[in-house]
């Protein structure tokens, strides 16, 4: 379970702490750890506890820290709240995130493989483009995106948001997978070619199993980013039912009597899957994520 493994000094550090750190220091560290844990978990605990309170309890002028009665049925009733069609919002979120991620994979994987393996004229220009677009976000380009997609008549469609999410997450995926492909020795490819394997066979049979962690990292990152995208969806998706959850939930703010228990119920449902995905790639976040940029 430890992540120390990737650090060259890991073994040494572990020995240090196990043998030489006094018990008192260790207990202090655990205490500090508990404080840090609390800081990062409490907002989401408030969310969770709020999601199982009754409306009268969460709107009470004497707020309770913990629910007095656990209303699990909120998780069923919240989907038919009048503020926004939440079921459609959830479907929208899932479809946009899934298809944008698939599109990114389809487009980024060949580009990452080819730029890591072959030198061709314009390769540096392409990678430069990738780096620059990696740092651009839809927010600053929303007015242009909106006009462009309106012109093509696909504003307020899933297709528009799939294209936008894919385009803005593509570069990061190319970048991360490129660094993984570059880590596979060329000799392996060449040996396979000598044995008569074609280009695609080399990519799929030889390389993919080796760079699988990089692909998973790219997938998770892209999926989570698309799942949470807000700025472009806010403007492009004008129909209530088309909006992803992140946009739909903001409609509760400023209501006469905001149904906070529902807002939090939906948030819990929307947050848990992406947090679990992120935890799966936690190890990559230290080592691989910044590969190539952190020296």
């Amino acid at each position: 379970m430890t992540v120390i493994a990737q650090a060259p000094n890991g073994a040494r550090r572990r020995r240090f702490t196990a043998d030489q750190v006094p018990l008192r220091t260790m207990l202090l560290r655990m205490l500090a750890g508990a404080v840090v844990l609390a800081i990062f978990v409490i907002p989401y605990l408030i969310m969770f506890f709020g999601s199982v309170k009754s409306k009268s309890e969460i709107r009470s002028v004497n707020p309770t820290y913990f629910p007095t009665a656990w209303r699990w049925e909120n998780y069923l009733t919240m989907w038919s709240t009048p503020e926004t069609p939440l079921v459609q919002n959830l479907v929208s979120t899932i479809i946009i995130a899934v298809f944008a991620t698939l599109l990114v994979l389809l487009v980024a994987l060949p580009a990452a493989y080819y730029t890591a393996r072959f030198h061709f004229p314009g390769r540096m220009v392409f990678m430069f483009l990738v780096i620059v677009t990696q740092m651009l976000q839809p927010a600053v380009l929303t007015s242009g995106l909106f006009r462009q997609f309106s012109f093509f008549g696909i504003s307020d469609t899933w297709l528009a948001m799939i294209l936008i999410n894919a385009a803005f997450n593509l570069s990061f995926a190319v970048w991360i997978m490129h660094s993984f492909f570059a880590g596979v020795p060329k000799e392996i490819d060449e040996a396979a070619q000598i044995d008569g394997a074609g280009r695609l066979a080399v990519l799929f049979r030889i390389n993919l199993p080796l760079v699988w962690p990089g692909i998973v990292t790219a997938i998770v990152f892209t999926f989570v980013a698309c799942w949470n995208e807000f700025a472009a969806s806010l403007v492009i998706m004008s129909t209530a039912g088309n909006q992803p959850l992140a946009v739909a939930l903001t409609k509760f703010v400023g209501q006469y009597e905001t149904s906070w228990h529902y807002v939090f119920g939906v948030s819990v449902v929307a947050i848990i899957p992406v947090v679990v995905l992120f935890m799966l790639i936690e190890k990559r976040l230290i080592g691989g994520l910044t590969a190539g940029s952190v020296k």
Binding site: T2, I4, N9, R13, T17, R29, G33, A34, V36, L37, V41, P43, Y44, I46, M47, S60, N62, P63, Y65, P110, A111, Y114, F118, F120, G122, M127, F128, I131, T133, A139, V140, S143, G144, F146, R147, S150, A167, S179, A182, E190, Q193, R199, F230, A231, L234, V235, L249, T250, F252, G254, T258, F264, S267, A270, V274, M279, I286, G292, S293, V294
Partner: protein, 327 residues
Amino acid sequence: MTPDDMTQSIHETPVPTGAANGRPRAGVVRARAAAGTRLTDLFSALPWIGPALILIFGVVLFPAVVMIYNSTRDISLSGVDKGSVGFENYETLFAFAPLGGIMVRTVIWVFAVVTIAVLASLALAQFLNKAFPGRQIVRMAVLIPWAASVVMTTLVVYYGLEGYIGIINKFLVDINLIDAPYGWTKNATSAFVWSIGIAVFVSLPFTTYTILAGLATVPADVLEAAKMDGAGRIRTYVAIVLPQLRGALSVAVLINIINVFNSLPILKIMTGSIPGYDADTVMTMIFKYIQNEHKIDVASALSVIAFLIVIVIVAIYVKLVKPMKEL
């Protein structure tokens, strides 16, 4: 040319027969084929990088061009283009009295959030780099705000700060920090300050993990040597650890500047219902122009200015971090 021919021409160049004579052979091939091969190489690359190029040009770069073009047009509230107006949209923008305050607030917003987030992350990463039972659980918890939707994280704080029903208000009263619940989100300044807090909170995971990656590159034997030489903790940190973190820190600072500058949801939720422009940044103002005032032309002008700012930051990133060096 058939696909098979293309395959051939690609494979000619990079296939060395052995470690010793690999390089010279590739050189010979290149010299012989010269310009013809270069073009062939480019064409062979297109099926692989073409789709990516189409997406980047079509959905990232082209909208930028559309935006620049629109910033010089007169576009009606319903979206009809009524022709060119030169720089009139920019003049409208600069004549807009609150713009100065918005610019200043944008600088404060970015500076405060990035500074606090980076300093806090330096401490947090240093701590999470030490071994203790349960460290893995703490590291996992630190990830949550990174994965969770910023909108949802902000909503829970917004609820907590509500005048009478908010749980943060109750907590602040319970620990005697304030006498009575306060409507934090009704006042531009207090809402803005809380927004800075939320932005710091959601920036901590990325920043901390980037610094942790940097800390992993600090050689243990150097630290040990410093300890043997009797260097104190602070001196060791300043003299050995911090210089080693320079790369990680420049990544963390620059990416954070871009993220925080681009950040919309926090301020939109926390301050969106406050009348006037006393809590706006460039980004929230762009969306007020688009959504509230339906002035897509002026919004485009302000977006162009924001885009130029982002490009400058990206240029600094490319120059400072040198991400192309490895290629």
